[in-house]
Amino acid sequence: MSLRLYAIAYLVFLYAPILLLPVFAFNDGTIIAFPLQGFTTEWFGELGRTAALHDAVQASLFIAVLSAILATCLGLCAARAGTMASFPGKRGVMGFIMLPLVLPEIIVAVSLLVVVVQVLDLGLSNWTIILAHTLICTPFCIAILNGAFANLDPSMEEAAIDLGETRWGAFRLITLPLVTPGIVSSLLISFTISLDEFIIAFFLSGNTPTMPVYIWGLLRFPEKLPVVMALGTILVALSILLLTIAEFYRRRGLARAGLRDTGGFL
């Protein structure tokens, strides 16, 4: 029983920052502190009037969509290979691809910064962020897609090939529909990671900042903080929505693969 109380207290600790966001987003005062001053939607209105924010949102969406697609494609290759025949060094190769999961993000950020700016002498742009985000999203995609590919009966694809389908046709018609929920989940998760990622984007952003980089700039101006709260509320609501959809598809994928749910994305 006391363990249950502890678990609930821990959830309060986990959710405290998120639950406070909307409180201050609708608070009619520029100081982010109690007591509250009254209800207002002015901060949300100001979001609509800030042109620089719109550019940042656009850049972030562009980066997140492309990173999600690229990372999911790479994840598909790795997860598919994971279910196939083993070869010497396969574990090492897989381990290396999963490395960004534990590597401090600042290491990824500075090493790419050095290569792009100093070695290749190229300018920074949204594309450098896309490349880096694809790198850090791929391990998450692999983890999700492994779940979708595991327990997939290889005899179904073999049957399709025996009945005259090409290898690609068998994959497209048999395997792909079965792992589609996993793919949707993987796309949504990497989209969310990329949209929220700050450490790498801060090092690699060119002329147009991404949304987190833009928010970082705003944090220095106390009078802008309520607007940040409003923006944060929208972001968190959007993240929770996307995650819930992703979780729904991930479970459906597991059910199709005939797996018992072990829970969690990681």
Binding site: L3, A85, E105, V114, T262
Partner: protein, 292 residues
């Protein structure tokens, strides 16, 4: 013969498939990391890079007190964060694995992971709001009459960094421990009880040793990335809570001294890796044959 031929063909396809993400990781991770290593042996004067080999950056990083102090402090903060996160996380993982009916487990895990996926920057900033002098915690505690003066030891120092990072890395610690606990054969616990062990001795002699692979994984997955965080120290750490990543960031983006920044990043990585390997080695008897 035909079968052997089939196997090699499948191996070839498997290699071809995996080479796509592998090449990507080589190009965008291995080569850039190599470049960082090279850079750390070079020097930079404003924008021109001097490519003659030198150990000057390492000498400077290891002799200037400011750098050694920052590295040691970062390691201490990361270690504290790791201990706090794992100790706080273990009961949660235990609760979800042992005390919840199976159909409720994934809901709880989902609830635990949601905050982790929401904007990191905004979460860190809200800890500043919670822990501040006029923050949520202080105003509620004074409002309740529990304290007279606002608490000041919880913001703009290392404590604030530990609290915020323990929050940020919670799911990273909970999930590996949960997976290890789920793998434990429940009949072993019954056997222990049947043979006369009490609840607590069963926990310490059966459950905990079997859960150690998860605990070790949790420690590594929290300890290694925390060393590279510069957002939390910058926002809630104050001058005494700054970490090595802040210095790396300054060297790269403000002082235009990429070689020194590279050397600092590599030294931090080597320290973390050595400590992590040492930790795994100390726990080798719990980890069994299959490594992870």
């Amino acid at each position: 013969m035909a079968q052997r031929f089939g196997v090699t063909r499948e191996v070839r396809r498997s290699v071809a498939l995996i080479s796509v993400p592998f090449l990507y990781a080589i190009l965008l991770l291995a080569l850039p990391l190599g470049a960082i290593v090279l850079f750390s042996f070079w020097t930079q004067d404003f924008l021109t890079i001097d490519t003659s080999f030198t150990l000057a950056n390492y000498r400077e990083a290891l002799t200037q007190p400011i750098y050694t102090q920052l590295i040691l402090r970062s390691l201490a903060i990361s270690a504290t964060v790791t201990v706090a996160t794992v100790v706080l996380a273990f009961p949660i993982a235990y609760f979800v694995s042992f005390h919840l009916p199976p159909h409720r487990k994934s809901l709880w895990l989902f609830l635990i992971t949601i905050p982790f996926w929401t904007s990191y920057l905004i979460r860190v900033f809200l800890w500043k709001v919670i822990l501040g002098y006029n923050g949520v915690l202080n105003t509620s505690l004074t409002g309740l009459g529990l304290i007279d003066e606002p608490l000041t030891f919880i913001l703009y120092n290392a404590n604030a960094v530990v609290i915020t990072l323990a929050h940020a890395f919670a799911p990273f610690a909970i999930l590996p421990i949960f997976v290890a606990l789920e793998k434990i054969d429940r009949s072993l616990l019954e056997a222990s009880r049947d043979l006369g062990e009490s609840r607590s001795t069963t926990f310490f002699r059966v459950t905990l040793p079997l859960a150690m692979p998860g605990v070790v994984a949790a420690v590594l997955i929290v300890f290694i990335p925390t060393i590279g965080d510069y957002v939390t120290p910058r926002l809630v750490g104050g001058p005494d809570g700054l970490m090595i990543a802040n210095m790396i960031q300054t060297q790269f983006l403000r002082l235009n001294n990429a070689p020194l920044g590279a050397a600092l990043a590599l030294i931090a990585m080597v320290c973390v890796t050595v400590i992590a390997l040492g930790f795994v080695w100390l726990n080798r008897r719990w980890l069994g044959g299959d490594g992870k």
